[in-house]
């Protein structure tokens, strides 16, 4: 990990990044365990391996910036500041969930945090993020208005679908304040990148849209933070979109229950040896940014917060039967009984 004093975040931000990574790792493990035990009857998509990318993005985004994510969203939502209790309650279908329990793991929305949408359809978040960025561009053109940027996350698998190409083209054409954050974990569900794309250099492909593109080591939170912070700054300054390919590796299966024995052992072991959470922790200590005892305190607080979120979620009520008709339209009169 590189450490340039002029471009390293202040200690409070480093602490926050570590806290996010730790929260995501622990909550991810707990969610898989709860799903397996039958206490959380939900399809859950693990984020192990993406912790550094999510934490870096969360630190680079301002509170006003907006984010669109995917079904594999636990890291993005935590990093954007969505309250953990709300996230975990939604995973359990409880009324205190971010969407009142009716949307589930794939569908996170949290307006106060700027987490505008996540989608269960691969690639579909990109055109929507382009629209949010159009809104940001039009708002920012008003005299004296603050500038905000939009980021959209997606896996490498999304780079094959039409919506991706349409959104990349539109964003470059309109010079939208949008950062495309490709969380390249090497796998489209159960198929490796090289088996579904003849051109595996995703950043190089992105330059064909006449767009700035960068590739970063997604297991290096500092490098990822620098590149994303720069891309978001450029977006806010009206310099157009950037494609950032964050090269990572999926450390577990596609879903919480999926077999992943097909993943090559050597590659998985090499990736696990660079597991971003422990690696970042060791670097924080060795570089003198944070002490072991401070990190132990954070660990303890995070573990307690995750325990609390799961206990809270499992003790909260589910929606009432009549709630099923809420939020189809603004007015539920016509909806009832249809």
């Amino acid at each position: 990990m590189t450490d340039t004093p002029s471009s390293t975040p202040p200690p409070a931000v480093l602490e926050r990044m570590y806290e996010v990574m730790r929260t995501v790792t622990v909550a991810d493990e707990r969610a898989r365990a709860e799903a397996k035990a039958g206490r959380m009857p939900a399809a859950f998509y693990p984020v192990r391996g993406l912790e550094g990318v999510c934490a870096a993005l969360g630190a680079a985004l301002s509170a006003e910036d907006q984010l669109v994510s995917t079904y594999r969203n636990l890291g993005d939502t935590v990093a954007k500041g969505v309250p953990l209790r709300g996230i975990i309650a939604e995973l359990h279908g409880r009324v205190s969930g971010t969407s009142k329990g009716k949307a589930g793991t794939m569908h996170m929305h949290h307006d106060p945090s700027g987490l505008m949408a996540t989608t269960g359809i691969v690639g579909s978040g990109l055109p929507i993020a382009a629209g949010l960025a159009l809104g940001a561009q039009l708002d920012g053109a008003q005299p004296g208005a603050p500038r905000r940027a939009v980021a959209v996350t997606f896996g490498d698998g999304a780079t094959s679908i039409g919506a991706y190409h349409e959104a990349m083209n539109l964003a470059a054409l309109w010079r939208l304040p949008l950062v495309f954050v490709c969380q390249n974990n090497g796998w489209a569900e159960h198929t490796p990148l090289a088996a579904y794309a003849p051109s595996t250099d995703l950043a190089a492909r992105a330059t064909a849209y006449n767009m700035t593109a960068r590739a970063v080591d997604g297991f290096d939170p500092m490098e990822t933070w620098r590149v994303l912070a720069d891309a978001l700054d450029r977006a806010r300054n009206g310099e157009g979109p950037t494609f950032v390919e964050c090269r990572t590796y999926r450390l577990v299966g596609h879903t919480s229950s999926a077999d992943y024995s097909y993943m090559p052992k050597a590659a998985l072991e090499a990736a696990l040896a660079r597991d971003p959470g422990p690696t970042f922790r060791a670097w924080l200590v060795s570089s003198g940014h944070l002490t072991e005892s401070r990190l132990d305190e954070i660990d303890k607080a995070v573990d307690a917060e995750v325990d609390d979120a799961f206990e809270f979620a499992q003790s909260e009520p589910k929606p009432e039967p009549g709630d099923i008709y809420d939020d189809v339209f603004a007015d539920r009169t016509w909806v009832e009984g249809r």
């Binding site: 949307a103 269960g120 993020a129 629209g131 809104g135 039009l138 708002d139 603004a330 909806v335």
Partner: protein, 330 residues
């Protein structure tokens, strides 16, 4: 206080007037679509002059890329705008179904009410001069998708009023035009902010013997049929639904309860078409009152044949006359 007058308008001009009014009255209204900016002004000229008046930033030409047109419109709606996306032909919505069905229609529900999507999609049913991929009437697909409203006007005045209501509605709306109605009628259309509420059918002709329920491009044929039938002493009540979601069942049921006979007419495929839902509801609610089973007239179960072939897949005025005669004779 301004005194509003009426101006004679075609449906195209009436819709242009609604869009112009919306752009002028709300800075958050935004238009997106292929070729909609001047000098083109839209392939059907509905948006003519609007980019010149309101600026190319708010009346935006897009690439030929319906997924990104719809996706960008949804995103802009989440950002607080009221986008109106034009999709040149109804058939082209099929390449953007994911954005409308999985996202626009569901975001209010999936966000627990946090994210309404005040989006209007304007689209056009073509005629069979263009063949089978530019002439489909797919409104039933969207009636079948909870979370999106569906309007299909038959007159210039309704086109203006329904379009304005769609734009300022806080839910996503699909606004369907038919190319055959774009220039076929001219009528006085109220100036200014004219609105027709969504979910309110219009009784176009009062009658006692039978209720004919229709909307959109079939309305002129249905009204002509009613005139023919009147000459034969058969009094048909004609209901123009105007919107299919919400669907004004109270007006339909009140009429059929009186006439005891009903015919539903539409340009969508008859099989599993809107008429099936309407006929089933009438039957459920008024089974004891009905003198005859409800009759459905819709497009035949075929891809639209090319116009020049002379083959007619749609119900025409004569079909309506024949159906009503059969019912009235019983």
């Amino acid at each position: 206080m301004s005194v509003l007058a009426d101006t004679e308008m075609t449906m195209v001009l009436a819709m242009n007037s609604a869009l112009d009014m919306a752009l002028a009255s709300d800075p958050k209204v935004l238009l997106l679509g292929e070729d909609i900016a001047d000098p083109s002004g839209g392939v059907f000229k509905v948006t003519k002059g609007l980019s010149t008046t309101h600026g190319a930033a708010r009346v935006r030409d897009t690439p030929i890329a319906e997924q990104s047109i719809l996706g960008a419109a949804i995103g802009a709606a989440l950002a607080g705008y009221r986008p109106v996306a034009e999709v040149m032909f109804f058939d082209f919505l099929t390449v953007a179904m994911d954005q409308i069905v999985n996202h626009a229609a569901k975001f209010r529900y999936l966000s627990g009410g946090q994210h309404p999507v005040p989006l209007t999609v304007r689209t056009v049913v073509g005629n069979s001069r263009f063949g089978a991929q530019h002439s489909q009437s797919l409104e039933a697909w969207f009636m079948h998708t909870p979370g999106i409203k569906v309007a299909f006007p038959s007159t210039p005045s309704d086109a203006k009023g329904l379009l304005a209501s769609c734009i300022f509605d806080d839910d996503p709306c699909l606004f369907i035009e038919h190319v055959a109605l774009h220039y076929s009628q001219k009528e006085p259309v109220p100036d200014g902010d004219h609105r027709v509420p969504l979910g309110q059918a219009a009784i176009r002709r009062a009658g006692d013997d039978v209720t004919v329920i229709s909307y959109g491009a079939q309305m002129p044929g249905v009204l002509a049929a009613a005139e023919t039938l009147a000459g034969e002493g058969i009094s048909a009540e004609v209901i123009d639904l105007r919107t299919l979601v919400p669907l004004d069942f109270p007006t339909v049921l009140a009429s059929v309860a009186r006439t005891r006979r009903a015919v539903v007419v539409h340009g969508a495929t008859r099989f599993a078409g809107p008429g099936a839902e309407i006929a089933a509801t009438i039957t459920e609610e008024l089974f004891e009152d009905l003198a005859q089973p409800v009759v459905r007239l819709g497009a035949r179960y075929v891809p639209t044949p090319f116009l020049a072939s002379g083959l007619e897949p749609l119900p025409v005025a004569d079909d309506v006359v024949a159906a009503v005669r059969r019912l009235a004779g019983s």
